[in-house]
Each structure stands twice: as C-alpha cells, then as structure tokens.
C-alpha cells in the first residue's frame, strides 16, 4: 500500500490549516472553554471553503469526496481545538443519511450542512451524552438498532458537566414515533455501524492534532524556560519525554490514515483498523498531554495557560466513542475470537 496523500489532499489540509490559524486561535478556544462560544467564524469559513460538504453527494451540493480527503482536515481541527461539531456534521451525518436511503431527509438537510447553516448532534448507542445538542439543528439518534431524526425542540435536553469546558454535553430524552424514524432493519444496522466507525475515526484524527499541538507548545516552552542557567530543553530527561510523545504520535498517525483508506474502500477489516487507530490515537494524545504538562510544570495546569485548553480537549476525546481499553478489547475479540 502507498501511504502518501495526493497533492490535492495536502493542499486541502493546508487551506484548512491556514484558515483555522486565523479564525480558531487560542483566544477563540478560550472563549469556547469559558463561555461556550463555539467558533462561529471558523465554522462559516469551513462552509465557504467547501469542507462542510466534502462527504455529501455532488447531486446534493457536496463534493462527493471521502474520509481520505477529510482525515487530514479533521487532524487540523484537532490541532486548533475547534469547538464545533465537525465530526458529527461533516464526517457522519451526510453519509449516514445516504447509506440509510433517507433521500428526502438528505435533500432537505444537505444544502444546509454544506452551507454551514446546520449543525448535527449525534446520539449513538454507547454514548450517554450528545455533544452540542442545544445548538444542533438536527439530532440523529440511534435507538434499538433504528435511526431517528428530530429537531432539539422535540427533545428534553439536560446539560451535563464535561472535563472540557468547551464541550457542551447533554442527555437527550425524546419520544420516538413514525415521524422520527428514518431507517430500521438491516440497512439501518449497517449504516449505523459505519457511522460509529466514522465518528470514532474522526475523533482519532482530532486526537492526533491535539497531541501535536501539546507537543509543539511544550517544545516552544522548553526552548525558552531556563533552569540551572540553560533552557530546560537542553536536559536529556526533558528531551526524552518530548521525543517519546512525538514518536507515539508518529506511530499512531499511519494507523489513522490506514483506517480512513479502509473506510473509503470498504475493507473487510475496517472495524479492526478503526479500533487500532482510536486506541493508538487515544494513548498517544494522552502521553503527549502528560509529557507537555510535565515539561511545563505547574503553570501548564492553570486554566489561564493555553496548554490547559488543549489538554482538557484531548482528555475528553480520548474517551469519546470508546477509550483505549474499549478499542483494545475490540481488537482482541477480532483477532482472537470471542
């Protein structure tokens, strides 16, 4: 297999990186953390760049691209700690509705998703909370193997605390009915399973970006913070810690890219590949945050310091859609049998 992205794919990433650097800097992440402000400017630009509609069919105003194109951009949204439901809305919602054969619903919502006018909340089995349910325009909920769609006004939302102040978590109580049911049976089960894979893999990509951001912050700090008359980055103990974190990221990244390739091509081992990606990305990001925190010392833990914002997001996402233990158990079952 050739593990290299095309020139277009890397240019897409660069375009997203440039936009996020300008519209989702630490001050925006802090506003999201302290005031739940989201990142509306970045969200608008994602739509203007065509990113919001990447996975939507061309007939519905999308670009008809795949996870291999989106994965690098999701990594950048992690690097920027974008506080918007990009995984749920961009990576999951469109393909889920399409694979469920929900043509009318897709025709209704695709233009709004591609245009950045709609955010989607996702409630899959195994996830007790729905992120951003209060701001979502559409909730896609799994219940008993069926997919339901509803607007938040039809549900009772109860806010829940998160380790990351920028994540707005809610329990969603709602009553199902024929008006909410989108798909059931075999088709729904298959589409929901793939939706879970997309959400898990998208989160893994964001974790890679978050880990890279934490390492970058720690490296910059190690170059300027002096102790015993020289920068702390000159000490081998600090160097090794940062190198280990960097190496863990470098090992996890190809697993994420491979899983994206497997999803796009319907690889029969895609479940295994996505679990490998999430397990490695969760572990790598956690190691990066710990190493960065150690290099910074106490200041890294203060909420006034930017590292805190990225670290908390990484902690939250490392557990979202299955933590490392959960995915290791899945891998074990797949290679050893039940």
């Amino acid at each position: 297999m050739r593990f290299r992205f095309t020139e277009d794919q890397t240019l897409f990433r660069d375009a997203a990186r440039e936009m996020l650097a300008r519209h989702c800097g630490p001050e925006v992440v802090r506003a999201a953390y302290e005031q739940g402000a989201g990142a509306p400017d970045a969200w608008r630009h994602l739509a203007e760049q065509g990113i919001s509609g990447m996975l939507l069919p061309e007939a519905q105003g999308g670009l008809g691209l795949g996870m291999c194109e989106l994965i690098l951009i999701l990594e950048e949204t992690g690097f920027a700690a974008l506080s918007e439901p990009v995984v749920e809305t961009v990576a999951v919602a469109g393909p889920l509705l399409e694979e469920c054969g929900a043509t009318a619903l897709l025709a209704r919502w695709a233009p709004a998703i591609a245009g950045g006018r709609a955010r989607v909340g996702l409630g899959l089995d195994g996830q007790p909370y729905v992120e951003g349910a209060d701001r979502a325009d559409l909730l896609l909920m799994e219940r008993a193997g069926e997919l339901h769609a509803l607007t938040p006004e039809r549900a009772l939302l109860t806010a829940q605390a998160s380790v990351d102040g920028a994540r707005r978590l809610f329990t969603v109580q709602w009553a199902e009915g024929t008006g909410t049911r989108v798909a059931q049976g075999e088709m729904a089960a298959r589409a929901l399973a793939r939706a879970r894979l997309r959400a898990t893999l998208g989160t893994a990509a964001q974790l890679i970006g978050l880990g890279a951001r934490c390492v970058e912050l720690a490296v910059e700090y190690a170059k300027v913070r002096t102790q015993f008359g020289r920068p702390i980055g000159a000490f081998q103990a600090v160097q090794h810690k940062l190198v280990d974190a960097f190496a863990a990221l470098a090992m996890a990244r190809p697993a994420v890219y491979r899983a994206a390739w497997s999803l796009d091509r319907g690889d029969p081992e895609v479940d295994l590949h996505v679990s490998m990606a999430k397990a490695q990305a969760s572990d790598a990001a956690t190691l990066c945050t710990r190493s960065a925190l150690q290099c910074h010392g106490a200041i890294g833990y203060t909420t006034e310091y930017d590292l805190h914002l990225y670290m908390k997001r990484a902690w939250a996402l490392s557990r979202a859609f299955g933590d490392s233990d959960h995915h290791r158990a899945r891998i074990a079952r797949q290679i050893l049998g039940d």
């Binding site: 277009d8 240019l11 760049q49």
Partner: protein, 251 residues
C-alpha cells in the same frame, strides 16, 4: 478587461530564519515559502474586480520551478491562468523584476490593470510597482486601500500621512495593494481541484526580449540584529523617570 497580478513567494514570515555563515544570504534549506501577504491582497482585489467586471485575471511569478505553487495558490483562489518567468532568486533585484514584469505586460498585449503588493515582506524594498509604472510610462497609485473601476479609469484611495488621498487614473495603470485593501479569501476545495487544470505558461527572459540582466543592487552582507538585553523592573514612576534621565539619558 485583463488584470495582471504579480505574486512573489517569500519565506514564511512566522518562521525563524538563519543566515548563511558568511552572511551572504538567508539559509533557505528546509524553509517553507508562502505567498507574500501584500500579493495576496493584490490577488483578492483582482478577483473582486473580475467578479464585478467579468475580467480575466492572470497571475505572474518570477523564479525557478518551485514558484509554481505560488501561482497555483492564486489560481485556487479563482484566477484564470498563470505565467512563470524562469529565473533564479539570487539573479533578481527590484529593477530587473520591474523590467521583467514590463516585458510580460507587453507580451500579453491588452492588459488594463497591473496589480502588485506594495512590497514583499522579505526584502521590504517597496520599489517594483513604482519602477514598473516608470518603465511602462503608465499612471501609478501605490498603497491602495480602495479601488473602484468604472469605464476607462480607476479611482484609488491611498492612505497617506494625515488622511486619505483619492486618485483617478486612466487605464491601463499600475496599482499596488496595502494590507487594508481587503481580506484575501481562502482557497476553496473546488478551487484547489480546478487550479490543477488551469494553464501556466512558462517564459524565459529571452522570450520577453530581456538581454540586460545586470543587477543594480548588490547585497554586501546580512547580519543578525543585536541581541536584546533583559529589561529592568522599576518600582515607581519616579524611579522610571530617574533612570530615563540619568541612566538611559534619553530625557
């Protein structure tokens, strides 16, 4: 209407650069290049005029093959085609760049507006636009903060000391862009995909009839700025004034 936009690549302004040991230049090994920010403003303005007046926008850049991504970047934003003039960075100065752009202007034939950044953020020379206007004997408006085109003329607002100056120029004309002229758009994904199919012509200096490649500016030596010393915290305004008077001797 045809608009010619000059685009230069510069070393990433946010990168920390190193000088070569002999001070003859900047070490460009493993540096990243970006489009000069002022050139991005020029491209954006050309695209805005294209949308308003159905113009053709042509991006021109001068340099080796690795300036092609700079041209592609403008094409991804929405320009129609590109021109790369083969040269080496070290073989260029502001004067020769202006003469090359004048050659491209004549080669194209029917250009109405030449848009450039007011300066590049690497050399900060701020000379090419003015020299180009002189070589072509065209009216010029530098440091534009607003451009309006109507009929056969352009109305350009410039930021000058103490206020704004408005000029009216008959076309064709040379206009250089200031940062406040506009906010450059981001390349869209469809734009990036289309850019690959847009043509980029490659021209040599000989194609443009340029035989005199002598430089008028010689870079003698580059030096790092002196290292800054640590500051001193003072306890009060009185102490600050005392230090400014008696230590720094600036008051």
């Amino acid at each position: 209407m045809k608009i010619l936009v000059a685009a230069k690549r510069v070393i990433d302004p946010d990168a920390r650069i190193k000088l070569l040991p002999d001070g003859s230049g900047v070490d460009v090994q493993s540096v990243e290049y970006k489009v000069n920010p002022f050139c991005e403003n020029a491209i954006e303005e050309a695209l805005a005029l294209k949308e308003e007046h159905d113009a053709e926008v042509v991006i021109v850049s001068i340099g080796p093959d690795d300036v092609t991504p700079t041209i592609r970047s403008g094409l991804a934003m929405g320009a129609d085609r590109g021109i790369r003039v083969e040269s080496e960075d070290a073989a260029l100065d502001s004067d020769l760049v202006a003469r090359i752009l004048a050659g491209v202007f004549k080669h194209e034939g029917d250009v109405d507006i030449v848009l450039l950044g007011k300066q590049a953020v690497d050399g900060d020379n701020n000379q090419v636009g003015q020299l180009l206007a002189q070589y072509l004997e065209l009216p010029q408006a530098c440091f534009a903060s607003e451009v309006k085109v109507s009929g056969g003329s352009a109305t350009v607002t410039r930021e000058v000391d103490g206020g704004l100056e408005t000029l009216e120029l008959p076309l064709p004309a040379v206009i250089t862009a200031d940062l406040r002229l506009n906010e450059p758009r981001y390349a869209s994904l469809p734009g990036i995909m289309k850019a690959k199919r847009k043509p980029i012509d490659e021209l040599s200096l000989a194609d443009l009839g340029i035989t005199d490649t002598a430089l008028k500016v010689e870079v003698v030596r580059l030096e790092e700025p002196p290292a800054r010393h640590a500051g001193v915290m003072v306890e009060s305004v009185d102490q600050l004034i005392d230090k400014l008077v008696n230590v720094a001797k600036v008051l």
